[in-house]
């Protein structure tokens, strides 16, 4: 059974197929409005994530399908001690496809190993969040028209930022990508990502703490939030949370066609004064996330023979 647990589960060609479908949905939404009639998406959210859950639900409703599920572990059988494997087997009897969010890393893989329907990883702790990467990829493609020959800056929490790791993995498969890593010392990209992804794929990269000095080089600036929930120590969080705040003044030397992305929610790392700048793409990114989830649901249901 085909599932999406890690962005690398899909080839470059398959990602392009999803992007083409998403673009077609954007151009001709009426063609898709009944495609999932009678089908059910189960959103199994063992930790709250309103935006991701609503994006999945909106995606399924726009395909004409229905949604069942829960939005926190307290209201699920996990509270009674049921295993992820058993939950996956049970839900397979009720739904056609699962979107699972879980605080423990690897939980969606366990679900996929036991379910008889496709499983989509909607985020597992600090590990993977492949549908966010799908949103990021469609945004880059619609803004730039390509994935090749780009200088991509990642700024903020590069240590715990799983969306950063996933997007770097995804981009590492394209030609002539250059990566710029901007973070405080304590939140630098883990060495295994630098070694296993960047170095292994011969992707040139630079590390810096100074955003201003590298700004003129960037085609894409991917901002991230310093996430309170990833810290064991509140003091460390408070010390690092305001490391980078993007303001209109800080864009003085940026390219005119820079694209600013952010997986959202933001706290204060992007000033609201930037929201009206044409280079701000983060709200479009949210919308594109829904279209990519629609394309993904269609692909997985088709491959499972359920459409």
């Amino acid at each position: 059974m085909r599932s999406l647990i890690d962005i690398l589960d899909f080839s470059v060609e398959e990602l392009q197929e999803l992007i083409d479908t998403a673009n077609d949905i954007i151009a001709h939404p009426e063609k898709y409005s009944e495609r999932c009639r009678g089908k059910k998406l189960a959103t199994l959210f063992f930790e709250p994530s309103t935006r991701t859950r609503l994006s999945f639900e909106a995606a399924m409703y726009e395909l004409g399908g229905n949604v069942i599920g829960f939005s926190e572990a307290r209201s699920s059988s996990a509270a009674k001690g049921e295993s992820v494997a058993d939950t996956a087997r049970v839900i397979s009897c009720y739904a056609d496809i699962i979107a699972m969010r879980h605080p423990k890393e690897g939980a969606p893989l366990v679900a996929a190993m036991n379910a008889s329907i496709p499983v989509i990883n909607a985020g597992d702790g600090g590990h993977n969040h492949p549908t966010q990467t799908l949103a990021d990829l469609l945004t880059i493609y619609r803004e730039k028209g390509r994935f090749e020959h780009l200088t991509v800056g990642f700024c903020g929490d590069l240590k715990f930022g799983r969306t950063v790791h996933s997007l770097i993995c995804a981009l590492s498969r394209y030609e002539d990508i250059r990566v710029v890593l901007i973070s405080p010392e304590e939140l630098k990209l883990p060495s295994y990502v630098k070694k296993d992804v960047l170095a292994a794929n011969h992707i040139p990269y630079v590390q810096t703490t100074d955003l201003e000095s590298v700004m003129p080089d960037l085609d894409i600036l991917y901002m991230t939030r310093v996430q309170r929930e990833r810290f064991f120590n509140e003091e460390d969080y408070l010390r690092l949370k305001d490391s980078y705040i993007l303001t209109p003044e800080r864009l003085w030397n940026a390219k005119a066609d820079l694209s600013i992305l952010h997986p959202l929610p933001r706290v204060n790392e992007i000033s609201v004064a930037i929201d009206d700048d044409p280079r701000a793409c983060y709200f479009k990114q949210v919308l594109y996330g829904k279209y990519m989830r629609m394309a993904l649901i269609l692909k997985l249901l088709q491959e499972a023979g359920r459409l």
Partner: protein, 138 residues
Amino acid sequence: MNIDSIQNGIVIDHITAGQGMRLYELLGLEKLECSVAIIKNVVSRKLGKKDIIKIDSGIHVDFDVIGYVDPGATVNIIREGRLIEKRTIDMPETLTNVIFCKNPRCITSTEQELKHVVKLTDRRNKVYRCLYCETKAN
């Protein structure tokens, strides 16, 4: 130093010096009733120094564990005092319930029934990672 040759059993040879004890532990050899010898720092023409384990019993040994710890090791099967089989050991693609994931955020930390599986992700550098959370196994 003399260790008696064995009649029926297994000799794990060409173990990288220093890895013999780890192999002894991961193979669970401390549970055996038979004679088991760990010989450390034996002079070797090929390796300079090596460890050897001799097990005086025809027990089943998990070759995958040997391949995980030390893929250069060889296993000699002895029957009635004669060498009947000599195996070289390759790295296994996966290993189950031998190495336990230590990542407190991994799903294996809360679901006790789940098998602990590590998979080979980098053959050249002998890197294994947890199947679920991809944390590097030691």
